[in-house]
């Protein structure tokens, strides 16, 4: 992931420098910057980057126009930076094909989290194995590896686990999990969810009644504790 090329497009020199330094200190090695839409298009024409971070408000060609131009030739993931208040306007970039957006001003870790999430989605790793306290889960094969044994996950269990693993270390609310399970009309499926969670725990926990990996956050949701993250 760290070797993916990140292209930062912003007319503000200090902001470019700041973003570059965020990624450099996080270990990313290939960061290029462009001060305008035209410059960015020229760079993309030469070599498609791994992800583009672009500002919406730029003199000349603005972020939306630039994204349209990019989408005409490439599907490269894009994160847009906007100076509009979060609740102010519904973000218009999604229709143009933006993967996510971030409202200025932002903290370094907020930017890193979003970019990492986009990269994970855009470039899924092979051999995705999530290591837990008592077991490991092979996401590619939908199997739990516990004490040398391979236990298959059902489709529902898999979708729940995948959602939790995507957000490892963070609470995933009951609503979000139910939605993964049953789609948009999810109200009333809380007990179904609890049943699936119980089955999951039986497969991944050493002692399902005292879980250490798949934790309940009372009233709110569930949280997956992954070993790699603890390092």
């Amino acid at each position: 992931m760290l070797d993916k090329e990140i292209l930062v497009v912003d007319d503000e020199k200090d902001l470019r420098t700041m973003i570059r330094s965020i990624f450099e200190s996080a270990g990313y090695t290939q960061i290029t910057t462009a001060a305008s839409g035209e410059e960015a298009l020229a760079l993309i024409a030469k070599k498609t980057p791994g992800i583009i971070i672009l500002d919406v408000m730029m003199p000349g060609m603005d972020g939306f126009e630039l994204l349209q131009e990019i989408r005409a030739v490439s599907k490269v993931p894009a994160l847009m930076l906007t100076a509009k208040g979060e609740a102010e306007d519904r973000f218009a970039g999604f229709e143009l094909g933006a993967d996510d957006y971030l409202v200025k001003p932002f903290l370094p870790k907020e930017l890193l989290l979003r970019v990492q999430a986009i990269l994970k989605r855009a470039y899924p790793e092979k051999n995705r194995i999530v290591t837990l306290d008592a077991a490991a889960v092979d996401l590619d094969r939908a199997e739990v590896i516990k004490e040398g044994q391979r236990i298959p996950l059902t489709a529902k269990e898999y979708s729940i686990f995948e959602k939790l693993a995507e957000n490892a270390g963070r609470i995933v609310t009951i609503g979000v999990l139910c939605q993964t399970l049953c789609g948009d009309i999810w109200q009333g499926y809380e007990t179904t969810l609890m049943t699936h969670i119980r089955h999951l725990r039986e497969k991944i926990e050493e002692n399902p009644s005292k879980p250490v990996s798949l934790l309940t956050v009372k009233g709110l949701g569930y949280k997956l504790v992954v070993k790699e993250l603890e390092k």
Partner: protein, 453 residues
Amino acid sequence: MKPVERFFRKYFLSMAGIIVLFVLLNVVLFFSMLIWAWQTSEEPDLSLEKICAGIVMDEKGRLTAAEGLSGLLEEYHAWAMILDDAGTVIFQRGLPGELPRRYTTTDVAKFSRWYLGDYPVYVREHPQGLLVVGGEKGSQAKYYFSVNESYVRKLSVGLSAVFLTNIIVVVLLVWKNTRHIEKAVTPILRGIETVSLGQPVSLPEKGELSEINRQLNKAGAFIARKDTARAEWISGVSHDVRTPLSVMLGFAGQLEDDRTLPASAREQAACIRKQGERLRSLISDLNLTSRLEYSMQPLRTEKVYLVELARQVVCEFLDGGLEERYGIAFCADQESESLPILGDEALLKRALGNLIQNSIVHNPQGCRISVSVLCGEAGITVEVTDDGAGVSAEKLKELTADHRRLESTDEKLNLRHGLGVLLVRQIIEAHKGTMSMESAPQKGFRTVLTFPV
């Protein structure tokens, strides 16, 4: 609009009062004038009684004038005579020569009512006949008056009817006039009230007072334009501040995490980062508040499940590195779980986030926060409670008072209380909900939001 109605009712009553007063005054004036005229007019000349007494029989059985009669008559340029039963003058003093010395019954009947010659005359019974006293020509007005009893009765009834009709007509006219003015003025007063509330005003520009309506419309449009300009200005400034603040927050955040730096430098960087974040929330609160205030922020309503919404907000706090000394507990009942309201998800999240943030900011020593979403009779209630320092009664009063939003600044342009609370109130009101706050020093703070279902 009560004050206007009251005003016109008062106006009408005062007009009616003026009419009554006017009538009373006239009655009083009329009678006092009569009394005055009666008291100040000259004595009704010579007294018939005196004259009658001044004509006496002497020892020889002849009528003679007593002492002083001639003087009395001369003083008034009058004359006197006594007629016997046959109409013959048996006594006279100063009787003008042109007047006859004998009178028929017809003559007597005539002059006793009217004039004798041109002399005004008065008659009185005398022991010896009829005393006739004549005054100077043109000195007295003499009328004879005699009317039918029923005529008098009818006349008095008629006069009262005329009087009453007059009063009724005048009162009706005043009432009609008042209504007319009220009709013309009420929309204007309403318009002024609307303008004073800062709402858009649009009055029909016709009728006699159309000019005033037009000017009021202009004033309303002018205020609206200024409000919009202000909101746009705030919005513009907040946009422009975001990029520089990004750079500051970005570098401060990196310095804070840079393990090669000495601890003190990292602490300073953390301080810059925290203050930067405060500035960030202040800017967005200010911007959103002004947009809501001037209706530039349309609600994007959709079905919102408050329980799940609250869960997400609480999780953001828990995942966002909430410090150890704070704790957030969450509870919800089964009923409200699947009960949606119509609302703007982003704004509602913002409101709830602001309340939790307030508990954190105002309790630097740490506190337990609890968030609950429950279904009650009035709708769904969202409650945010903390067990922290709380606020004094005065401060609570200030917070709960319904200030005119952005006007709630003191002379130094300090917002009297946090923009955060202001924004929450605006958001809740936009959702037709209610907000109540309870607190006491060292007893924590409790905010209850109620949304109609």
